[in-house]
């Protein structure tokens, strides 16, 4: 028995009005050769009660990070999101609406997204933001194809972009998939042993279409050299900076040091990790990129009475108008999650953002102090600046170390070997506003045990 169908049991009545006698009449145009024979070989329908019981059993068998002590980040971070965000987002007027094709009855979401654009614009220091892409990786990929569209005509290195060699392979893979169709050449931007960008080799990127870097970078380092990059690569090469948005409560906005496009994983603002999605990608840019950028944009306008009103604008870039000449194929995006981001940003305010950034960095700094003092644990970038995560080099492999920590109830971090083949013993440990001092103590204690067990004596 299924529910959710208001006309169940009324089929005959409705068919009779149409002059039909059977549901089959409605499918008379589907040729017999393509008809599915027999019922679907699937399980029986369940009631709501049974579904929720199964969901609790299956999802309950997952290890939620809140049940453990967790230092796993590596691109997704567990920040506290205020309750009001979750309550407001359940309002059906937001939740069950779709792309605001009819602006007169969609002013709420349109205005909220125009406000989101403003919040992001202020956050990153650039004048223009769209209302989200799928995630940080697709935002990076779209930024790279966008900068090629804008610059390749005048570039001396045509169709070429330089991407930080530290970019994790799973993010790089997305970039490669998005770039291959436009035959974009991806060259690697070199880094120094301390994890910062090698500024002298960055000169090679001058005359290309763009440079992609991350701040903090994938292994958690804040690179004091990035503000020098724009001058090195020049006006006609786009500087694309991917950010962890919360870090911008303390760290300089990329727009202030010449970034042309800023992207990032919006998730820490407004959204739980949710297994990696739905989250939202941030995309902001300066004026020269506006007409070739991807995604939906809201503009402020007026109605026929001259009253303030909002609507989607610059749609001629988009697939439903421009078809195969569109700047991107994106249609459905992550608006609702971006709305959660806007709500979180509103509640934070500038001082709240600063405080949140401080809490993240404070936890990281305490973690660095504690872990650096453990015999046998080495911090390869100890003298660098970190926002919320850093690498420790462990005795044995990171993978075995994580398994040990797991056995004592600690999700110890991310095995960097999954990114870089030459780093079997790098563990990326992450800290957020939720990290407690006693949790750091616990991690330190067990890392000490691990190191000792590996034959490193105190």
């Amino acid at each position: 028995m299924v529910d959710q169908l208001p006309n169940l049991g009324r089929e005959a009545e409705m068919l009779a009005i149409m002059g039909m006698s059977s549901i089959e009449d409605l499918f008379a145009d589907v040729p017999d050769e393509v008809r599915m024979k027999g019922p679907l070989p699937l399980r029986d329908a369940q009631s709501e009660e049974e579904i929720i019981a199964d969901a609790r059993r299956l999802l309950g068998s997952n290890v939620a990070l809140g049940e453990r002590v967790s230092f796993l980040g590596a691109g997704l971070y567990r920040n506290y999101v205020p309750a009001a965000v979750f309550q407001l987002i359940t309002r059906g007027e937001f939740l069950t609406s779709y792309t605001p094709y009819q602006p007169e009855v969609s002013q709420g979401m349109l205005q909220a997204m125009w406000e989101f654009q403003t919040l992001i614009s202020e956050l990153v220091g650039l004048p223009i933001a769209n209302l989200s892409l799928y995630d940080g990786s697709t935002a990076a990929a779209e930024a790279i194809t966008c900068c090629v569209r804008v610059h390749t005509r005048k570039a001396t290195q045509k169709d070429t972009v330089y991407v930080s060699e530290l970019t994790p392979p799973d993010r790089m893979s997305v970039v490669e998939n998005y770039c291959q169709g436009a035959e974009i050449k991806i060259k690697l931007l070199r880094h120094n042993p301390d994890g910062t960008v090698n500024l002298s080799s960055a000169k090679d990127a001058a005359g290309s279409c763009g440079v992609y870097v991350e701040q903090p970078n994938p292994i958690g380092i804040l690179d004091g050299g990035l503000p020098l990059l724009k001058e090195i690569i020049g006006e006609h090469t786009a500087l694309i900076v991917a950010v962890q948005p919360i870090s911008l409560g303390l760290v300089e906005a990329p727009g202030a040091y010449g970034a042309d496009i800023v992207v990032g994983e919006g998730q820490p603002l407004g959204s739980p990790i949710t297994g990696g999605g739905p989250i939202y990608g941030i995309f902001a840019c300066s004026q020269p990129y506006l007409r070739l950028m991807p995604g939906r944009i809201v503009g402020r306008s007026i109605d026929v009475d001259g009253k303030e009103a909002f609507c989607l604008t610059l749609s001629t870039r988009e697939q439903h108008i421009r078809r195969h000449r569109a700047t991107s194929n994106i249609c459905t995006n992550e608006t609702l999650i971006a709305l959660m981001g806007a709500m979180h940003m509103s509640l934070l305010g500038p001082e709240g953002l600063h405080d949140l950034a401080v809490r993240n960095m404070a936890a990281c700094t305490l973690g660095k102090q504690k872990l650096a003092s453990i015999e046998g644990i080495h911090l390869p970038h100890a003298s660098s600046h970190h926002f919320q995560e850093f690498v420790i080099e462990v005795p044995g492999t990171a993978s075995d170390c994580l398994a040990y920590l797991d056995s004592v109830g600690i999700v110890g971090g991310f095995d960097v070997h999954r990114w870089y083949a030459d780093r079997p013993n790098w563990l990326l440990v992450s800290f957020t506003d939720q990290t407690q001092a006693n949790q750091i103590e616990l991690l330190a204690e067990h890392l000490e045990v691990w190191a000792a067990d590996q034959g490193v004596t105190a």
Partner: protein
């Protein structure tokens, strides 16, 4: 009006935070890294913030507020238990990089969804990675591209799409680097096999098509179309945007397709959230399975020490296909959306056929009563079917061409008139092949009474004089919005006084 940026309250009023675990003064950053000026965000307290967003929500139309017959978008009811399930910590608070033994519940649900989608689509392997329909299209066309590259068929540089296709089809294929060949539809809105034969050749990589097509018509010649494309060595791609019409009735596999994407958010009711999130898994026949992006979930019987983490004595593991194109999103797809769609699937199980039957029943019923009521009101000649057909599938089109000609009333005018009657307007001016087109998709979750009332109200709108309709809507939060003004006087963010 409520404006977020008019709020300049006391700092930190939004929500108080605990003190940092080290004092801020102990944090060290060099001057080159320190932010010099704070973002000019509002300072708003929770009571004001809740009121602001509640006010905004009241200026927004959703399925919950009224009938939403937006063609091609499948705006069906979103069961609320799905939202409750998505908040369980075992989905909301899990990280994709956690080890497999932390995520057996999630993986088992992924496996169940892969299996279900393989069955309803008649495909051999599904991946849940793509996060939206357009991304699914892109992913599948990329897989076909790599398949041909591996076979040394680099000359296949063209993708064929009908002129009635969704805009994402040509956009996705172009992003992969293919040349787009558009073929005209027949006068009745269906695929023109002669036009297809004329363009299909050894340079054809893929034909992308949806069935039922964007006019809501079933392409009865689909097997012939598949044969034409396969005979020249090309691949058939099924755009799953209209899948709601065919579950348990037919399948892309039976129709000869090699690859398909699903708009899970449409067919399986992930709330559309004002524009997203979505979920766009793809399914392929065996010959394309090695090219899919991972991770894909495979299951096997448990080994010795796995029992304590296992579900029903099976082990679920991530798997990467041999020739995978790599990733199209960094993580494991929109897991939270997939969970909601899983809950929706469980609600129907093998009764998914009934769901599609009712979607088609409602569309045909609405089509019938719409014409009936228009005739009864004496305005029947203002609308004609977008395409001649005995039956439609889950949606149908009408043309306001006659209304435009005789009364100067456009599809847009009628759309705005419907807003005044308390409805979301149907999709207008798509597909492009129908003049003054309205594309109407009621979905299976609307009652007969709603459809009857809508039909009568639609006829009432047709009776309104042109001048009044040009001025519609008048009852909405704002009246007709000047989109040209918005484009000519770009204002894409709050204008600060000190800018």
């Amino acid at each position: 009006m409520s404006h977020l940026f008019d709020h300049h309250g006391a700092p930190g009023q939004g929500y108080a935070q605990p003190a940092p675990i080290l004092p801020a003064s102990s944090l060290v950053l060099p001057d080159s890294l320190i932010r010099k000026s704070a973002p000019r965000w509002p300072r708003i307290s929770e009571p004001e913030m809740v009121r602001h967003y509640t006010w905004l929500s009241k200026r927004n139309f959703g399925i919950d507020t009224g009938f939403y017959p937006l063609g091609s978008c499948t705006m069906k009811h979103n069961p609320r238990v799905n939202e409750v399930i998505a908040q369980i910590p075992g989905i909301a608070d899990i990280h994709p990089h956690q080890p497999e033994h932390h995520l057996q519940g999630l993986l088992s649900i992924y496996h169940e969804m892969q299996h279900m989608l393989e069955i309803v689509a008649g495909m051999d392997q599904v991946t849940l990675q793509p996060v939206a329909g357009a991304q699914g299209e892109f992913t599948a066309v990329r897989c076909v591209q790599e398949y041909f590259r591996l076979r040394g068929e680099d000359q296949r540089t063209k993708v064929i799409v009908p002129d009635s296709a969704h805009g994402t089809n040509p956009a996705s294929a172009a992003m992969c680097g293919f040349e787009i060949v558009e073929i005209p539809s027949r006068i009745d809105g269906r695929i023109d096999l002669d036009a297809l034969r004329a363009v299909a050749d050894e340079t054809t990589a893929v034909m992308m098509i949806t069935n039922p097509n964007t006019l809501g018509l079933f392409e009865a010649d689909i097997l012939e179309a598949s044969a034409i494309v396969h005979n020249v060595g090309g691949q058939m791609y099924y755009d799953g945007a209209n899948f709601n019409a065919i579950l348990g009735i037919t399948s892309p596999g039976l129709m000869g397709f090699d690859a398909v994407h699903f708009n899970l958010h449409k067919t399986f009711s992930q709330p559309h959230g004002g524009g997203g999130p979505g979920s766009g898994p793809i399914g392929v026949k065996a010959h394309l399975a090695d090219f899919l992006p991972g991770p894909i979930v495979k299951k096997r019987p448990i080994m010795d020490d796995e029992a304590k983490h296992a579900i029903d004595d099976m082990w679920f593991g991530w798997y990467e296909p041999t020739h995978s194109i790599g990733k199209v999103q960094q993580w494991h797809g929109n897991a939270g959306a997939i969970i909601r769609c899983w809950a929706y699937y469980r609600r129907y199980g093998n009764g998914l056929t009934t769901m599609s039957q009712h979607a088609v029943l409602n569309a045909n019923y609405l089509r019938h009563v719409l014409h009936r009521e228009a005739k009864a009101a004496g305005v029947g000649d203002m609308i004609v079917d977008g395409a001649e057909t005995d039956v439609a599938k889950h949606e149908f089109t009408i043309s306001l061409g006659p209304a435009k000609e005789s009364h100067g009333i456009s599809a847009m005018d009628v759309a705005k008139g419907l807003l005044d009657m308390g409805y979301m307007a149907p999709t207008v001016y798509f597909p492009l092949v129908v003049p003054e087109c309205m594309m109407i998709e009621p979905t299976e979750t609307e009652s007969k009474e709603t459809l009857d009332t809508f039909a009568r109200d639609f006829a009432k709108v047709l009776q309104v004089d042109a001048e009044t309709l040009h001025a519609a809507p008048i009852t909405t939060p704002v009246r007709r919005v000047d989109e040209v003004y918005a484009a000519r006087n770009l204002c894409l963010r709050h204008p600060y006084d000190d800018d």
